[in-house]
Subunit: 347 residues, 3 copies
């Protein structure tokens, strides 16, 4: 979406001071303005930034009177926050594919198109797939045999659903995420060569789950890898086979959950956290970024940290001493000398 | 694949108690049953779960006599484990693309199709590519110029092979994995600006290697990034340029191996492990999840842990003390006071 | 690209000793030679490797006289390094798609094709996209509505650009990287259910930025996620919403930067590093692999390490003591006993 300053001004019923032909491709924040963007001066405390922002256009109130010369053009409006809201809506048009099935998609015979569904170019839909009303399937998505998708699902470009994956209503899966691939399961034979364990389970995402870009959720070995309703998973997260994640839990980027572990509801898991396999993590546990969780013994609502993770404050206190270990080492040595002297004196 | 309970029952030559029209899309475990699935009661110790499982159908022996009412339908069979095996085979049909080259694929002239090869829609195959018999190339795969693939290779949707990649027989590469991209190599010029080092090496996967979803293996700078036979690599793993990984090694999800390191055979590398560059790691080393390996000095078969990694038991013992450091700090302070008192007394 | 030994020899105006029909698919290093490759003996110190390399062809000087029998064929040339350079150029031909728009691409009407641009099969280009001269768009790339790409940009297969992303001149984005997806932002409602915060900002990559395979850069919430000129980002890195990264910074594989943090120019960030949100990291800071950065207080040019990160040498010194903590614990206990004895004696 490219606008020029004059068009933006008209949209906002504002008054333009400056060059109407300047092209604008999006919004930016006034303290991080960049060329080609429009920004806002809604908070008077940020006025200083108005004079050095690199944004090309600033939306200001009709009353705004600059204290010094401005490089940016101005659009004066009655209500800056309302104007901002209006622009946000304009720029958020996200180019979803058109309703219906693109002539460039590959959809197996017998597919039953529900109302409001969009299927973009180069989408592959295998046999026995069902997709609920108003779902949006962006280009380059692969939907394996027997997958079932709820209403209003959004699959961004390049999402891969292995066969029999089940996606609840209103779930969002971001670009290039992979759901339902084989778990990492092998049996070493007598020579130590790994023989693959067939994975024929599935993945179930309940309603309102969101999965980040390039994240991976493995299918169950025999059963189900289950992510319960309302849970949000960030980019590049790994969820291994047979894991269960409770409701309304958030998992930040690059965290990994090993096979067969169960995470409670309302948990908050930081970025790059690693959770070992076969654990049961309680509800509402908060795990600090990068922690390594090797046991499930922490009670509901605990906050943990470290590698292996221990209670958050215990880790911070121990680490505060850790930083001074060389000094403590010297103090121990000094004590040893003094005690040795005392003993000699006594003898 | 969607079945109803009556069809399943017929397949298993069983006896149905309940609604034959219930739809079933896959199997689940009895203690983690979910709607729309079939489960099994083979182990009498799990009988309690039969009464509260959310699975819609339970396969039981002909003799099974419930102690209380059941929500699920039952299919009674002669041999529960045999029935389970039969279903596993049925559900594992994974919807591979049809044999031959899809009319929707883009394959350069001169490609020589071997027997039993399947090439799905929207696959791109560049010049001078060779693919062995019985290989399965799922939709949306990209195979760059000059790649050579062995027999029985499986490339799942969205796999990207950069030019000249070599994939051995029976290798499996999961969805959206990238093999052969440029290594992360730059030379800072006199201004500190990074100039790209051209990478013209290749990647070689020997026979029976498996690579997880969204994993990345960089090409060699000039030479080869080599993964030897039988090695299994999990999702989201990073293998940098010029790395060599020995035979029958397993590397869990999100681990990363920096440039030019060599990993031995029969090694076991945990999730999120980081291995620095230019190291030589011995055979059969076992590296605990999240460890950071900064040296290759550990002997064959060692087990290591920590950041930087040290012998496993040493880390656990040191960490056991670490957790109580604030207490030891106080004990040192107390000792200092007492020794000071003793010295004063003496004076 | 597959050559045989005789063709290579002709290309290099050399003299062949051995089988001219041997097929060669690429170069390798002499100490890591593998079948099907050509290698070089330029450094006399490496001569021992010439006798046991598995490469099929070795390029040597006209004067080279082997001390023992060789398995490989030889190509004798006047200048080994010059020949090497020539081959490197030959093998680096990377199979870019042909100039123009592939008949198998999906490009919205109104797209204005600049000179020298290549757009491969199964590329999707949405409305209002602009692409500069000489850009190369490999197969299976998705370019969302309103994206603007500079001159000479290279997007490898499967790259996904969400709408309104802006890519500077000569940027390179590797396969399956995702740029511009929604940030991980939710507001918990009164029941603790997460409500999605709409992300309508953008991503801007300035000139000469490189992004690794399967990396992810989130769009700004309202403003911009900004990666400044000359910065290089490795595979599987996560850059969250509203982050700013300075010029000529390098970030190694699997590192993650949480929302709204600012990284300075000329910084060096190791693999698997995690940087918390809302920090301001100074210029030229060097962060050791796997460190966790929880504060921005480190001055320009510092080197830091640990979890949480502290000055590099401080961490190493503290960790050196950490490894011997069980011994120090015993020494404290011993001291306590001795001091207690001394006190008893005195009493």
């Amino acid at each position: 979406m490219i606008w020029n300053a004059a068009q933006l001004c008209e949209l906002l019923a504002g008054e333009l001071e400056g060059d109407g032909t300047t092209e604008i491709y999006g919004p930016s924040q006034i303290d991080k303005g960049i060329p080609g963007t429009v920004t806002f001066l809604a908070n008077p405390k940020l006025e200083d930034h108005a004079y050095d922002t690199q944004a090309d256009v600033i939306i200001v109130s009709r009353e705004f009177s600059p204290r010094q010369p401005l490089k940016a053009s101005l659009i004066r409006v009655d209500d800056v926050r309302q104007a901002m809201q209006k622009l946000v809506e304009k720029f958020s048009v996200n180019g979803r594919p058109e309703e219906g099935i693109s002539a460039l998609a590959s959809v197996k015979e017998g597919f039953d198109l529900q109302s409001g569904v969009s299927i973009g170019p180069f989408v592959t839909i295998e046999k026995d797939v069902r997709i609920g009303a108003n779902a949006v399937i962006y280009p380059h998505v692969y939907i394996g045999k027997g997958c079932i998708l709820g209403e209003g699902v959004i699959l961004y470009p390049g999402v891969r659903l292995y066969p029999n994956t089940r996606i609840g209503n209103r779930c969002i899966v971001h670009a290039n995420a992979v759901i339902g691939c084989d778990g990492f399961g092998y049996r070493p034979d007598e020579k130590g060569h790994y023989q693959k364990i067939q994975h024929i389970g599935t993945v179930v995402l309940e309603d309102d789950v969101e999965i980040g870009a390039n994240a991976v959720v493995d299918r169950g070995t025999l059963g189900v890898t289950l992510i319960k309703k309302g849970t949000k998973i960030d980019n590049l997260v790994q969820v291994a086979h047979n894991v269960t994640i409770g409701e309304h839990t958030v998992i930040a980027a690059q965290a990994g959950i090993a096979g067969s572990s169960t995470i409670g509801s309302g948990a908050r898991i930081g970025g790059q956290v690693g959770i070992a396999g076969h654990l049961k993590i309680a509800d509402r546990v908060e795990i600090q970024a990068q922690s390594g969780v090797h046991t499930g013994k922490y009670p509901e609502g605990s906050r943990i940290f470290g590698y292996p993770a221990i209670p958050y404050n215990d880790y911070l206190k121990a680490y505060a001493v850790f930083k001074h270990l060389p000094e403590y080492m010297r103090r121990i040595e000094e004590l040893e000398k003094q005690v040795s002297d005392l003993k000699k004196d006594k003898a």
